[in-house]
Amino acid sequence: MTTTAPPSAAPPRAAKTVTRPGDRIFAGMSRGSGIFLLVVMAAIAVFLTVRAVSAISKDHGNFLTTFEWNAGLNPPVFGIAVLAYGTIVSSVIAMLIAVPIAVGIALFITHYAPRRVGGVLAYVIDLLAAVPSIIYGLWGAIFLVPHMKGLNLWLDTYFGWTVIFDKQDPNSAARSLFTVGILLAIMILPIITNVSREVIRQMPKMHEEAALALGATRWEVIRLSVLPFARSGIISASMLGLGRALGETMAVATVLSASPQLSAHLLDPLGGTFSQNIVAKFGEADQFGRDALIASGLVLFFITLLVNGAARLIIARRKEYSGANA
């Protein structure tokens, strides 16, 4: 007896692929769950759209341009202008702060920190990503808001001329879009850092060696090889973070003092966001009010879709230059 069986002459057989039970079960299961997922999504979409359309068609004001959202008036007004503005502005602030810092931390972990320090730091940031958003919200309301006072006054004094940093009432609480933006930045920092770090870590060594062998310093290696290679990954990471910032509810609801004003003064306690408005109004709303809230949620969904589409365009436009075919 030898351990390897001699190659048995395969009996002539019709050209038919063999299907084993395992294959069939797995194929069935994956197809089934795929179809199930699509059906559920379609059902949700139909449900939301029907309710939203019924609400908007009965709305008297202009849904898109009205500032106020007030079901108590007669007739009620449902306007998303302030919500859209607040959602976008707070998310943009969050991105402007979080993306550079996150990329910096990712580069520090992968390229500058000693191995052990980098490992610990990466672990801590992983933990931060797992903190529930209500915790961030409470921390924001209890700690961040009172401690923003100094920064607010400083910005107001030296950058008040930019209008956006002009605080109209210096004594008002820092329950502003600006504070929300900072809190959102802290919340999305871990996910952007982690995804960017993973992308950078998986970069093939040979790309970095190309720069090193030319006599590049550490920073030049990052500029020549690492950032171009990681660029699309960093954009994707940022989009994940942005998605979270756009939809964030609890942290915004606990910090922002909502009021229906569309103001360029980012330090003033004004404005609102879609999800904050939905939690604030859902409990007391009647059937019609809820449908209107659903419509506003759909608008948020479209904004998120648009942002993702734009990100894909940015990535695809430079596909030719991506490392994929190198």
Binding site: M206, E209, A210, L214, G215, F229, R231, Y321, N325
Partner: protein
């Protein structure tokens, strides 16, 4: 321009593992020296100690001396970044900067060295691409990405990138192993031309290639797996391939082991 390399008592480690031990050799300016030997004997490791790339690997450590004319590359106060600007390197797998155009790939090293003037860059890029026998194939698409070239063209692009900064020495680690025979011949011809300007060291597994391109050949070997690799002998290529002084070299060349 081209400089003499004089290595004495060089030992290199990966963490606690001694990969090569006590290597000494001299490489004359404007010659081609080929490194041959069985896989794992430390040819790449040794090559990478010649431009201080070895220490980029975590745990990489070197003992001994590498003199470039009369400067010790491992002397205190010598910046590895400066060393790598004088000792260029071409890798086994072509590695152009994937996001850069052909032009920018060649200009990358020049820009690191502070060359900014468009006219100067243009002329050096053209000269380097001509030097790498690539100019005619790419002159109409200098602004296309370098990663869109064929493997052989990419490797010549990497050579152009390396010679653009006018290094004293050019190190090549199996530069043809990922290429077809025609591209390989193109690069071998190129090495013949480049040696009039640079000191060249090339690692190869291809005996015919070593015989074709090199003036001197160094044979490395290791006693057993886990043992450090050693330089067995270095001599004129003709002599190594006709009448080596060590039996192990003859065995290796005639294919009796390795």
């Amino acid at each position: 321009m081209a400089k003499r390399i004089d290595v004495s008592g060089l030992t290199a480690f990966y963490g606690g593992f001694k990969a090569i031990e006590d290597i000494s050799m001299t490489v004359e300016p404007r010659t081609v020296t080929a490194f041959i030997g069985p896989s794992g004997c430390g040819k790449s490791t040794f090559l990478r100690t010649l431009n201080r790339m070895h220490e980029v690997t975590p745990g990489g450590r070197v003992e001994g001396k590498v003199m470039l004319d009369d400067e010790n590359l491992y002397g205190s106060g010598v910046d590895p970044v400066t060393v790598r600007r004088t000792v260029g390197m071409v890798f086994q797998r072509p590695n152009p900067f994937p996001t850069m155009s052909i032009y920018d790939n060649v200009a990358a090293g020049l820009k690191l060295n502070g060359v900014r003037k468009k006219g100067e860059l243009d002329s050096i890029v053209e000269k380097s691409l001509k030097g790498a026998n690539l100019w005619n194939e790419v002159k109409d698409r200098l602004n296309k990405p370098g990663s869109g070239l064929s493997g052989g063209q990419q490797q010549r692009l990497c050579i152009a990138r390396a010679i653009a900064v006018e290094p004293q020495v050019l190190l090549m680690d199996e530069p043809c192993s990922a290429l077809d025979p025609i591209s390989t011949l193109a690069i071998e011809d190129l090495i013949g031309e480049l040696k009039t300007r640079f000191t060249i060291v090339i690692v190869t597994h291809n005996m015919q290639q070593a015989a074709r391109v090199s003036d001197r050949t160094a044979f490395f070997n290791l006693a057993a797996v886990g043992q450090p690799g050693k330089l067995i002998e270095i001599d004129d290529t003709e002599r190594i391939f006709s009448n080596p002084s060590v039996q192990a070299t003859e065995d290796y060349i005639s294919g009796r082991f390795g």
